[in-house]
Amino acid sequence: MAEMKTAAYICSGCELGNRLDVAQLSKIAQKEGKMALVREHAFLCNEEGVQMIRDDIEKEAVTHICIAACSRRSKTEAFHFPTVAISRANLREGVIWGIAEGEQHDEVRQEMAGDYVRMGCAEVKKMTLPLGNPNHAHNKRLLVVGGGMSGMTSALEAAEAGYDIVIVEKEAQLGGWAAKLWKRVPFKQPFAEPQDTGLAELAGKVSSHPRISVYLSSTIAETSGAPGRFSVQVKGAAGITTEEVGGIVQATGFTTYDINKLPELGGGKSANVIDQAGMEALARTANGAAIKRADGKEVKSVVFVQCAGQRDESGTHLPYCSGHCCATSVKQAMYFKDANPQVDTVVMYTDLRLPGMGEDFYRSAQQKGVIFTKGKVSTVAASGDGCEVKFRDLILDEDTALNADLVVLATGQVPTAGVNLEAWNPIVTAAEGGSAEAKQQRVEMQKTSVLNLNYRQGPDMPQLKNGFNDSHFICFPYETRRTGIYAAGPVRRPMDMLQATEDATGAALKAIQTVENASLGRAAHPRSGDLSYPIVRLEGCTQCKRCTVECPFGAIDEDERRFPQFNESRCRRCGTCMGACPVRVISFENYSVDTVGNQIKSIDMPDEFSEKPRILILACENDAYPALDMAGLQHHVYSAFVRAIPVRCMGSVNTIWITDALNSGYDGVMTMGCKHGDNYQCHFVKGSELANYRLSKIEDNLKQMGLEKERVISHEVAITDSARVAELINDYVAKIQEIGMSPMKGFN
């Protein structure tokens, strides 16, 4: 590694030169920041300014630069110098745009700018240029778990892009549920008739594809490793085979909700009450001819009961809607009408849900004479040779009944997602504590696992809700919490076949992307491309396990000696481990306890008689920091007494920063993170929640220090809160002025 040579570049464009004493800032960079080179420029982001920096890097061997100009979010492409460590002192959005104009504010504005220059210099000196995860691995094969429609689609689409695939299917043949269908709902216009499933053709392509190998009647005994180097034990009839892969798509699909749980709807009580899967079997047997019941009687009347055991608010059945069942019932009603238009087919629904072009399919059914009745079914019972369906007719507003030869219950999809980690982890804790009962439970539960991950945090992917492995992010539907493992199809979310094929294709792309990035030692979403990675000084580690437990992505295991074992390719670089570590042995090259700690300590702290409080803001770089920038852009004026530092995630905030700040005389600390709780917005899932928990304990520290509890305050801030952050700051400054300056000043 070349010797460190530092440089600071101070821009005087965008009014910076008029509002600030740039020469004084240069002096600060030189004298206090100890920058070897300090240059001013009137237009730093233009070609000439950028060239000046480039020349210094090339000719002067500059390795560490501080750019004192606009926010790190602005002119990012212009200030792209991949071979050096860079810090940005935010003088434009963070100072001259957000702080009151006018001469009377010149002094505090200049002090703020001076501190940001000090902080930028202090930060960059503690940074090293990230060089990429050295433990990266290059395996680019993909494992697809599940050989149904979704799994086969993922496999084929990835194979067609040039990747080698291993499919593991637990049944003796490919196809999954889709293979049991007589026909499927149309994917393309004219959206009028049930279509051949295309399953045989798809299975044929998969089986004969040179890049795809298939294990049938097989399950996964163990999965270990990380993106680029997963090792998977495939258990089949012939024993265990080890497959090395780089990424995983979990397309393990669903089972249907057990019809026997619906006795009031005749489920399990009458042979003439079947579910949609049973209906497909009858249609396959009929093969286009008149459809007959199990007892051989030709069906002349059929009622489809929608939402059977679904959309249930009582907590007994499935609370969600499975999305496909309205279209499926419409399709199945067509099976009857197409074979014999005289069959009475009634679809009984509360809300008919055929979105998009499904409307045309619905119209087609109406044209075929399918009857749609808005009604809520109360009971289905055997009656005579068939069934009686009692229901509330919601249009006529009356209780009534209908007789039919056959009743089809549209039951929902239940995901095959494996072990629910929320149930698993307490059992593991109890088992580790010696409970024999818990040990047995653990064994039983492990049998239901799909992936059998040997991860510290449990054998399957965390589930979001109702047992589905979905992402909680609207903008990022594939962001499950195990890096390099993507859920696809109805295991991720209830869905129809068309959506499952789209989903499977998207999941395949994400798996490809992870293996490509892992092979370059780069992070996956949301810090995609980040070359930094967590570095741990094990000699200082006390084996407290906080990092292994708190990592939102299960990236950290424990070795035999109970030391944390980082799997860098599983890491998303949020820094939650760094925030958790009580002995501060975890860091990233360009983001560490020191890079932030040094900034905090670098400022020029006024004495307690100055009446100039100093307030530290630790702001999430994804939402709160942009909100602060936009407060500047929109001129929501706020106090010049604050000093804001962007953090990767609130989860990365180590409480030492807060106590250090208070010890060195800051009068208050504000943290601004994303919403946590059920509708969390934290991009790292658990970061803001963990930070909230850690901060709830800070009061004890304050007490020990003899400080008021108001000296630390945390807020949830959304990216749109530009006006609100200014208010929060101003209110807090007023509060601090009310309680008075910190007594800690001058002790350092």
Partner: protein, 429 residues
């Protein structure tokens, strides 16, 4: 053509909304070369004009920030704004595309300092507020605009304001003689992520969108609810600026109707359910929302949100296709006429604001697509016959954001297959 700019290994993504950005980023993060062409002055598309997303009630700009950061960090991706695709010729793996780039009159020197806007006097309808407010004719499209660069409206070019703007710029960023440019590029695959537009509500004659000030679209309502919008987040009705506290939401405004849009637009039920919560956010129990609907389509786990809203005592559901709307002259309120089909009751209900949950029409209905393209009966794009051009997001089907992103991710892989195959063939040669 300069191979370093684009080759048949390059993927062109048309449209820089959430779907196009996703397609472009997902491909670029797999190491592919991508050009992202956006017709407007900034990326972000229609979602950047929404106040909140259902069902989390989070802000679209939050995801936009992440996507912009991904984009700024990725050297494989080149963004071209104010750029339209005028032709695509050639075949799968070997297309020549013609791009028309309209002048911004501001070059890359722009620092976003805003001095030009300070001196320009002329105002234009704010294109990012559906014309609900004005903006200076030299403007930054919105706070999260990317590129973060001002735009000069063509109306002031050649006028004194244009010269003033130029004089105020210290960075030679304003070029009043900038002309429309046409460039030709080679690309291997094209992803159409052209998104959607709201159905023209004026065509639904009985609802009087063109006659009654207080009948607005669901998209305009998003702007009213947004604290960064024209009313600062107050739900002020257009006729008299009065606070609207008794609001009707009419579902299927244009959708599920063979005279208008034959498809169901999928998102509108959830959008209206979400918007009832905007009313609650502003007024608490005092703000009343009534949803007039045919079926509530809160599919899969979105059902939770419907159940939550059903428990909200300030929200009423009426199963009815509203027949017509009449103006109550004295109050500027609106009287909705129809039949509540649950029990067949006729009603004449008075509301102070009506929000039409307008359907999604493919934006591509207004642009000339390559002849090879297959579209469905509503104009949604299936893809090209030769299998080298794909659709993503709401260009392909009426989709919500989550499904659009899913579709856009899938489209990326399809495009990658094309460029991989092209390179494999070349390698074999």
């Amino acid at each position: 053509m300069n191979a370093s700019i684009a080759t048949n290994q390059t993927i062109l993504v048309v449209g820089g909304g959430i779907s196009g950005m996703t397609s472009a980023l997902e491909a670029a993060e797999c190491g592919k070369q991508v050009i992202l062409a956006e017709r407007n002055t900034s990326l972000g598309g229609r979602t950047s004009l929404l106040y909140r997303y259902f069902p989390k009630m989070c802000h679209p700009t939050c995801g936009l920030e992440i996507n912009l950061r991904r984009l700024k960090a990725n050297r494989n991706l080149r963004v071209m704004t104010q750029t339209e695709v005028t032709s695509v010729t050639g075949k799968r793996g070997d297309y020549t595309v013609t791009l028309k780039i309209s002048p911004r009159y501001v070059n890359q020197n722009c620092t976003g300092c805003g001095e030009c806007a300070k001196v320009v006097e002329a105002e234009i309808d704010n294109p990012y507020e559906y014309g609900l407010s004005k903006t200076k004719a030299a403007y930054l499209p919105h706070a999260m605009a990317y590129p973060q660069r001002y735009v000069l409206d063509a109306s002031i070019v050649g006028a004194a304001d244009g010269e003033k703007a130029k004089a105020a710029c210290k960075y030679n960023a304003i070029e009043l003689d900038m002309k429309t440019e046409t460039v030709e590029l080679k690309v291997g695959a094209v992803i159409w992520a052209t998104g959607w537009k709201p159905y023209d509500a004026a065509k639904i004659q009985p609802y009087g969108y063109d006659r009654f000030d207080n009948v607005i679209t669901s998209l305009e309502f998003e702007r009213l609810a947004d604290p960064h919008g024209p009313t600062g987040g107050k739900l002020l009705r257009p006729s008299d600026g009065k606070e609207a506290k008794n609001i009707a939401f009419i579902q299927c405004a244009g959708s599920r109707d063979e005279n208008h849009l034959r498809h169901c637009s999928r998102i509108c039920c959830m959008a209206s359910l979400k918007q009832t919560q905007y009313v609650r956010e502003v007024y608490g129990d005092e703000g009343k929302s009534t949803i007039y609907y045919i079926d509530i389509r809160s599919i899969d786990r979105l059902e939770d949100f419907y159940q939550k809203v059903q428990q909200d005592s300030a929200v009423k559901f009426v199963k009815s296709k509203v027949a017509n709307i009449k103006l109550h002259e004295e109050t500027n309120d609106l009287i909705l006429h129809g039949v509540d089909t649950e029990g067949y009751h006729r009603y004449a209900a008075q509301h102070d604001l009506v929000v039409l949950a307008v359907g999604m029409e493919p934006e591509s209905n207004g642009i000339a697509l390559p002849a090879d393209m297959i579209t469905d009966s509503s104009g949604f794009i299936e893809g090209s016959k030769d299998g080298g051009q794909f659709s993503a997001g709401a260009a392909s089907s009426p989709l919500d954001v989550n499904r659009s992103v899913q579709s856009a991710t899938a489209a990326s892989l399809r495009a990658i297959q094309v460029v991989h195959k092209t390179s494999a063939t070349e390698g074999a040669r």
